[in-house]
């Protein structure tokens, strides 16, 4: 009996008829161009196929081995956050005209995706205070790397100075990306209050500097003085790149307001599920003067031959499929569906909803921080203002405490030793609108017990 599979439509009759039309005797003959030596003589060393029913049960079991946010109270952040996304977002993403389509190369039949991208770009621009946004990059770290490369291309300079609050993994990605480009990456020191040491920063920024990157809020949760960064950068002719968290932009000065030239960051907090790290959404926006350096797809408005407004991928001479080795980036497939998700999520929230989410996170975080820092030996690690994520110093080694809390059903924070060996008493705690006062109180009690 032939191999029957729901994804394979050709029946034995179909095959026979098709082979006849082609003019070969058997299907294997079509593989003759592959030298016989390369054609597999025995089956792959893998399990046999599973039916849909079996797939569901096998993966249900695997999923069951993970403790989701529904099973453990989750206070992990550090670049990926648990937020509530209204039901409608997932429903609209399941519109298969969106998710089963390719990059909109033929605009006449893909206005839906194109207009959604245009709306996404508009959302990112208003959030960041920038003029132009692309249609998405892979994720936040990638977006920051591309932003630096934009600055490098624009200025013709080869040094990047990072603020102290840049996510350590973002910094690593940047280093990997620029490894062969002879680019110098330096990072300013952290001041005692948890922000960038601006004197150190100033010292590092010189005439060879293409860009200064300010992360706001910084990795440790603290708010930076964006305007001071801008002054320092611009004084030396460097561009200012702001790496920002989009929900916070409902409350904070936008990059545009404090003088950034490029804004970038991770868009996951705009309604994307945590999904163990991806698919997420790198966003990248800039001042109009930088549009030619911008990597990736950009959607523009135009008219059709009937006089209607319409949308199309534009300025494509920046891109790899046209310019090949001269392109300003190699990106092809991006994260469009995630951009659409973020756009729908932002539409569902609106400005007031986004403010509500941001404010509730901040208020709940401050409520929790006050409770936790009231415990013996526990204190906030830094004094600078912060929003909904803070560095907590437990006074003792954090790992065993975290393990005890985990046993009580709480993922209490990200241990900073993961990134900085020496910070082994500190944890990074993120609080969002999803937590109730009752949960926060449970956390405080549990920490007290875990420390006792």
């Amino acid at each position: 009996m032939p191999f029957e599979h729901p994804y394979l439509p050709q029946t034995e009759n179909d095959r026979a008829a098709m082979l006849k039309t082609i003019g070969v005797a058997k299907l294997d003959d079509l593989f003759e161009p592959i030298p016989a030596a390369f054609r597999l003589a025995k089956p792959l060393d893998l399990p046999k196929h599973l039916t849909e029913m079996e797939l569901r049960s096998e993966f249900q079991q695997l999923a069951g081995l993970n403790k989701s946010t529904g099973h453990l109270d989750n206070y992990l952040g550090a670049g990926a956050y648990e937020h509530y996304s209204p039901s409608l977002v997932k429903h609209l993403l399941l519109r298969s005209e969106f998710y089963t389509s390719y990059t909109p190369y033929q605009p006449e039949m893909t206005q839906g995706v194109l207009q959604s991208i245009f709306e996404y770009q508009s959302c990112i621009c208003t959030l960041t205070g920038m003029d132009v946004s692309n249609a998405s990059l892979y994720e936040g770290g990638h977006a920051m790397a591309e932003a630096c490369l934009m600055a490098r291309a624009k200025t013709g300079r080869n040094k990047v100075v990072l603020g102290a609050g840049v996510h350590p993994e973002y910094a690593q990605v940047l280093r990997t990306y620029t490894h062969n480009l002879e680019t110098q990456i330096v990072q300013a020191k952290l001041a005692a209050d948890g922000t960038t040491d601006l004197d150190d920063l100033k010292a590092l920024v010189d005439d060879s500097c293409a860009a200064v990157v300010v992360a706001n809020p910084g990795f440790f949760g603290c708010l930076e003085d964006g305007a001071a960064f801008a002054t320092i950068a611009h004084a030396k002719g460097a561009l200012l790149i702001a790496c920002v968290e989009p929900v916070s932009l409902a409350l904070l000065q936008s990059p545009g307001e404090f003088g950034a030239d490029i804004a970038c960051g991770e868009g996951q907090s705009l309604g994307l599920s945590l999904s163990y790290g991806g698919p997420y959404l790198g966003f990248l926006a800039a001042k109009m003067a930088l549009v030619r350096q911008m990597p990736g797809r950009i959607c523009g408005q135009t008219k059709d031959n009937r006089g209607q407004r319409a949308f199309v991928l534009t300025l494509q001479t920046r891109e790899q499929h046209i310019r090949r080795e001269k392109a300003n980036s190699n990106i092809c497939t991006n994260q469009t569906l995630m951009a659409i998700a973020a756009t729908i999520h932002l539409g569902a929230l609106g400005p007031q909803g986004l403010r509500d989410v941001a404010e509730q996170g901040v208020q709940k975080a401050h409520y929790l921080a006050a409770k936790l820092s009231g415990l013996k030996g526990v204190k906030l690690a830094f004094g600078a203002p912060w929003l909904n994520e803070f560095t907590l110093d437990l006074g003792v080694a954090a790992e065993p405490v975290l393990r005890r809390l985990r046993d009580k059903g709480i993922l209490a924070g990200v241990p900073l030793s993961r990134f900085f060996k020496e910070r082994d008493k500190q944890i990074l705690v993120a609080v969002t609108e999803t937590k109730s006062r009752a949960q926060l109180d449970v956390y405080a009690t549990a920490l007290k017990e875990a420390l006792a």
């Binding site: 082609i22 592959i34 390369f38 039949m109």
Partner: protein, 484 residues
């Protein structure tokens, strides 16, 4: 269907499409939290609409779009195959969807096992010795692999400066190469579509770091001399890169790792059926041979003797991190589900179906359209309408636009660059014979039509041909609120 306003144009101050519970903790005064100077002063011009209006807007936009679920999408090089619904359901499970990338490994054993298994499956399918699931898409896979090659050469104290790419190669190949500072040299193709071996041989010097090959190549022809090419490269310790975008042609039938390839990427969103999402997300894992393993990016997924899994960041020779967190997990998961649905007994049937469909389609069309590379192909083929352009002023674009009138997406047009007025057709294995018959008949019907009809097309789509030049000349890239 009439124009659909922008969501911003449907906005009315005060409307809400969602509300949140009241704050249940005592309010910390805002002045104690946030200095005035740090606060946003500029407007936040996000849409304010009701839930129904929001849902209606994006439902309507979706109706102004086509996807695989509406009609065959024969876009060459893109492998637009059926996106199984069960994959979406599995990826949507709470236990996969709602887990944080920094959860302690003990609380994410299922996710880690998924990644570990995926590495094993990809390794066996490709014949590669080690897999990294980090890269987010094919292009990032290329970049990662080139960085790995660079680290390898570095480790040997060598600094070759060149990357070779065939002229038929995909744009991301040269772009990725120059991205990491290589000089790109283009190798010619022969009339039969394969790499010109003489031209190639002449270019292989110790200064060559890598040759990037797609096999079958972008015109759908298998590069049968790949082993010879590999041996030439290896003689100077250059690496052979396999662009896996066309893996659908040989999956389960032959393996890049057996052909002398040293490294490769997979397009999970092509070969392994994950949805393209209007442009992304995808996943572009890479596979390498043993000698390149030490240089793979971190983190690596490892298994302890007790069977538990963990993420390892300690690889001294690693190129480092190519992205934040641990890859496009949700996509890799879908890809694994797909692979398991075929298994060892079924994987070859994917390529067998794809190659059958492509050859059948080519057989149907070759009498009418010029097939510059002969009667046979692997999983896709290229036609040229240069003669029709010359004889009756009908271009590949015209065919593309006219197909839209019937609800069909066009083939890839004007790629690869070596074929004039190219139409590259990849019918994929999930399409039935009837669908192929219909598309072939339609192409011939269009060919019979008055050229004026093609020039005017499309007329049945929500919008007609666009002013693309105007779009680029006067870029309008965002909606702007009208000043009151």
């Amino acid at each position: 269907m009439s124009e659909e306003k922008l969501i911003f144009e449907k906005s009315s101050p005060g409307r809400r499409a969602s509300t949140f519970p009241e704050l249940d903790v005592p309010l910390t005064p805002w002045d104690q939290i946030l200095p005035k100077s740090a606060r946003r002063a500029s407007a936040l011009d996000l849409p304010e609409v009701s839930e129904q209006d929001l849902v209606r807007h994006y439902t309507r936009l979706s109706q102004r779009n086509i996807g695989i679920d509406t009609q065959i999408y024969p876009l060459g090089s893109c492998t637009m195959k059926y996106n199984p619904k069960v994959n979406e359901d599995i990826a949507g499970r709470d236990g996969f969807r709602n887990i944080h990338p920094y959860q302690p490994d003990e609380t994410a054993q299922g996710a880690l096992e998924v990644l570990w298994q995926m590495e094993r499956w990809l390794g066996e399918v490709s014949g590669m010795d080690a897999i990294s699931l980090q890269p987010t898409a094919g292009a990032q896979g290329e970049l990662t692999a080139l960085l790995v090659a660079k680290a390898y050469h570095d480790s040997k104290g060598r600094r070759p400066r060149k990357v070779l790419v065939p002229d038929s190669s995909h744009g991301t190949n040269p772009a990725s190469a120059s991205y990491c500072g290589y000089e790109v040299e283009t190798v010619k193709s022969k009339a039969d579509g394969t790499v010109d071996l003489d031209d190639l041989k002449a270019r292989i010097t110790p200064d060559v770091a890598c040759l990037m090959m797609t096999n079958p190549n972008t015109v759908g022809i298998f590069e049968k001399d790949i082993a010879t090419i590999a041996s030439w490269l290896h003689a100077v310790d250059a690496q052979l890169y396999y662009d896996g975008a066309n893996l659908n042609a040989i999956c389960g039938v032959a393996r890049p790792g057996d052909m002398g390839c040293d490294m490769m990427h997979f397009n999970v969103h092509k070969t392994f059926s994950t949805p393209h999402g209007g442009g992304g997300p995808g996943a572009g894992p890479i596979g390498v041979k043993e000698h390149l393993r030490p240089f793979l990016p971190v983190p690596r997924v490892e298994r302890r003797v007790d069977g538990s899994y963990f993420l390892d960041e300690t690889a001294p020779q690693s190129i480092g991190r190519i992205r934040t967190f641990t890859g496009n997990f949700g996509i890799l998961l879908r890809g694994l589900v797909y692979l398991k649905s075929f298994g060892s007994d079924g994987l070859a049937e994917i390529s067998r179906g794809a190659v059958l469909n492509a050859n059948y389609m080519l057989a149907l069309l070759k009498g009418r359209f010029k097939a510059p590379y002969g009667d046979r192909c692997m999983h896709e083929f290229v036609l040229s309408v240069a003669d029709k352009k010359r004889d009756k002023d009908v271009s590949a674009t015209d065919f593309a636009k006219r197909l839209a009138d019937f609800g069909y997406h066009a083939p890839t047009v004007y790629f690869p660059l070596i074929v004039a007025e190219a139409m590259m057709i990849e019918p994929v294995e999930t399409e039935s014979k009837e669908t192929l018959d219909d598309l072939a008949a339609l192409l011939m019907r269009i060919d019979d039509e008055d050229p004026a009809i093609l020039h005017a097309a499309p007329v049945n789509t929500p919008v007609g041909r666009l002013d693309e030049v105007g779009a680029a000349r006067n870029p309008v890239l965002r909606w702007m609120p009208t000043k009151p």
